[in-house]
Structures are given as structure tokens and as C-alpha cells.
Symmetry: none
Subunit: 216 residues, 2 copies
């Protein structure tokens, strides 16, 4: 199984490290800030306090043995780039780096990042699209033609089983899950009856999804 | 057409504002930092320098006339929360707020945010899933227990119909759509055969989704 190192435990880096850990992968998490290292000590396999711009520290950590290193240092563009360059020179096979802006991202590609991430910029676009498309609870464009929507169950459907509502045939949509108070039913059986205040998580082509959104 | 205001022009806020503008919507962008306001002056309809925690400034801006306000102030959790509270008290119909962490997010919901965003955290999860499986093209966490993944069809499934793969029973996942070259099949019939290079868009509980991601 591949080994991952994550450098920089801000909101993005810590999320990458924690998610990898939860999925069962070995993660070495590194930050120069002692407090952040402490807070993270029980969340992944190993956490180390180090300055990743320091070549000796990188050597000591055996960083060249990692399959993937994620450079999640944010505000300090210089440290972010210097770290990326050092990792490239040490022969790390796959380097992911977070960029502050388009120019920073271009430079990262030039100095050896295999993949550049723009978390805030990409989420900003997604949120903007969400806000524009609909008033429903959540909208995610899964692809240009396919969307996922969370809607409170239209009264017209309450009391009917999923099979009876015939949503698949009528709107070409698929009910992935039903949220009912604190529980989530996934996948719901065709016999599941829709109740008042249920939240339906549905997916389908854009037209069918929109017609469901407009149902009373 | 709805009017939007975005408060805080960091990487996330400026991306929201710019994307809305590019989609043809009126955007009022606000930041207390003069330099950021200057840099943004030609990017959206209106940019204003103001402290959004100041009630008088909000009144003067006519903020209650906006349909949606996005609070994209980051590091200053107090300013972020105070701004959100003021917007709620002024009757803004839909408030989106960016949270630094889960606790901050909970508080934002309690004080009136209609939607809370975790850009770095969500992108961190997405990147982690992308790194784990080269088959994974896209990963979105739909809720704490439910995720959507786009994967290239594992060779183990090629040539089988959806019914034969028995994904629903084996992994508790649901194939929402199949992308094949330029076409998208949604929803796919149980008889649909999976072909080489198909891209499967699936949804399900986290464990089942991960097991599919790891299939060769
Ligand atoms: N040279 C370095 N070596 C190790 N860690 C570093 C170095 N420089 C910065 N860091 C760490 O990187 C982490 C993330 O950086 P920072 O908080 O500036 O970025 P950010 O873009 O605001 O992060 P995010 O948006 O992911 O929260 C910090 O915890 C910081 O201590
Ligand atoms: N009270 C306030 N009124 C107006 N703008 C504010 C206020 N407080 C902070 N801001 C602005 O909010 C913007 C975003 O805040 P900050 O840079 O701290 O967040 P961030 O989480 O690092 O942002 P991002 O990750 O989106 O880049 C800054 O440009 C800052 O000037």
C-alpha cells in the first residue's frame, strides 16, 4: 500500500491527512508549528514537527521513500515552492502542491509539482454555481448533464412508495437516499414510503431534476 | 435576477464573486482591506471597502436588499460570526458562511447561516480520494455518510451487466450514470453492460464506495 506524507496542517492539509488515515493508509503529517503538531498527534500514524524547506530535515525524515507527498503550505508561497523544489530534487515520485493563485500554480508546475490544487478557488466556483441554480438545499453538478439535488419531499409524493411515485420513468431520476430526522436510508428500497418532512437526495439529468424541484 | 453580495475577498470569496459575475449576475464585493478592494475593482459590478461587522456600514450598503449574501471572511472567526448575526437580524433571506472548522460551522448554523461551507476541508477529502485510486476522477462527499465517486470501470466489471455486477448488494452502492465517450446514460438499465473505458458515476455509503475505488 502506498505511503503518503502531508506537509502543512492547515485546513486543507489536515483534511487530506485525516481522510487518507481514515481510509486505512499510512500518513506522515508534518508541520513546523508545534501547536498544530500536538493537536494532530492522535489523528494519523505519525506527526512530526519540522521545517520542510530544510533539506537536512527532509533527508532525516526519509521523504524520498514516500510515494506521494502533498505540499499543503499556504500563505508562505516561498516555503511552499522551496519545499516542492526540494522534493522534486530528492526524487519523490508524485508531488501534489496547493497554490495560492494562478501565477503561483504555474510556477509550481514548472518546478516539478505533478498536480496543483486550488481548493478555495474551485470551491468558490462550485458554490457560485450552487447559488445560481436553485433554491433547494443542496445542488451539486456532477457533470454538465447530471445533477444531484436534496429536496424536501413534495407533498404530492408523501404517502407513496418510491415504486408508486414512478420517478425513474417520469423524470429519469434516481432517489439515492432519504434523510428522515437523524437517520439516512441508503439505498432506499422501492417499497419505502415517503413521509412528510423527508429529505430526498436525488440524481438525474438536469431537466428531470428541475421538474422535481418545481413539484409542489 | 437575484442580487448577490460577497463579504471577504480572500481566495474563496473572490472566486465566488468572480464566478457569479462571469455568469452575468450583479455582485457587490466588500472587503475591509483597501488593497484587495483595489485589485478587485474591475472584476465585478461594484466593490466597496467596508468593515462588515459595523452595523451602520451594512445599513448604508443597503445589504438587506440583497437576495443572497456570502460571508467569506476567513481567519477572523469573530468577525465572520458577528457579520453573519447582523445579516440575520437585518433579514437577509439567504446567508452562506464559510467556516474554519466543524465547531465554528455549528455556531454559524445556530446564529442563522442558511448554508455553511468548508472549502479546504471538502477539497482535502476530494484530493485524498483522488490520490488513493488512480481510477477515481472525482469524489464528492454528499453528507457525512454518503459519497459520490466517478471511477473508470474496474476491469473486473467490464463485460458484465449492472445486474450481474450486483453492486447494490455487494457494496450498497448505486450506479447513477455511465459516461461512455461523449454520451451519458442516466439512469442506466439493470441490463446495461459495462464496457472498457466506461466511467461509472456511483453513490453510496463511504465504505462501499471505497471498496469500489480499490477494485482493479
Ligand atoms: N516551512 C514550513 N515547514 C512546515 N510547515 C510549514 C512551513 N510553512 C508553513 N507551514 C505550515 O503550513 C500550514 C498551512 O499553512 P497556512 O495556514 O499558511 O495556509 P492556509 O492556506 O491558510 O491553509 P488552509 O487554507 O489549508 O487552512 C501551517 O500550519 C503552517 O504552520
Ligand atoms: N470585518 C471585516 N470586514 C470586511 N472584510 C473583512 C473583515 N474581516 C476580514 N475581512 C476580509 O476577509 C478576507 C478573507 O479573510 P482571510 O484572508 O482571513 O480568510 P482566508 O480563510 O484565509 O481566506 P481564503 O481561504 O478564502 O483565501 C480578507 O481579504 C479580509 O480583508
Amino acid at each position: 500500500k502506498r505511503q503518503f506524507a502531508v506537509m502543512g496542517l492547515g485546513r486543507f492539509g489536515s483534511s487530506v491527512a485525516q481522510t487518507l488515515h481514515e481510509m486505512g493508509y499510512e500518513v506522515l503529517a508534518i508541520d513546523q508549528n508545534e501547536e498544530r503538531v500536538q493537536d494532530f498527534s492522535d489523528k494519523v500514524t505519525h506527526v512530526v514537527e519540522a521545517d520542510t524547506t530544510d533539506e537536512d530535515s527532509l533527508q532525516a525524515l526519509g521523504i524520498r521513500n514516500f510515494d506521494v507527498v502533498v505540499v499543503a503550505i499556504g500563505q508562505n508561497i516561498q516555503a511552499n515552492m522551496l519545499t516542492t523544489l526540494q522534493l522534486k530534487e530528492m526524487g519523490v515520485p508524485y508531488i501534489v502542491a496547493k497554490a495560492q493563485n494562478a501565477l503561483h500554480g504555474k510556477m509550481l508546475e514548472k518546478i516539478g509539482a505533478d498536480r496543483v490544487i486550488y481548493p478555495e478557488r474551485d470551491m468558490g466556483k462550485r458554490v457560485a454555481h450552487n447559488l445560481v441554480s436553485t433554491n433547494v438545499l443542496e445542488y451539486i453538478a456532477l457533470s454538465p448533464d447530471l445533477s444531484m439535488v436534496e429536496v424536501t419531499a413534495p407533498k404530492a409524493l408523501v404517502g407513496k412508495s418510491l415504486l408508486e411515485t414512478n420517478l425513474r420513468a417520469k423524470y429519469a431520476i434516481n432517489v439515492l437516499a432519504i434523510k428522515r430526522k437523524d437517520e439516512i436510508i441508503v439505498p432506499p428500497l422501492p417499497t419505502e414510503k415517503i413521509m412528510l418532512e423527508d429529505i430526498l437526495i436525488v440524481v438525474g439529468g438536469n431537466e428531470g431534476v428541475q421538474r422535481l424541484e418545481e413539484l409542489e
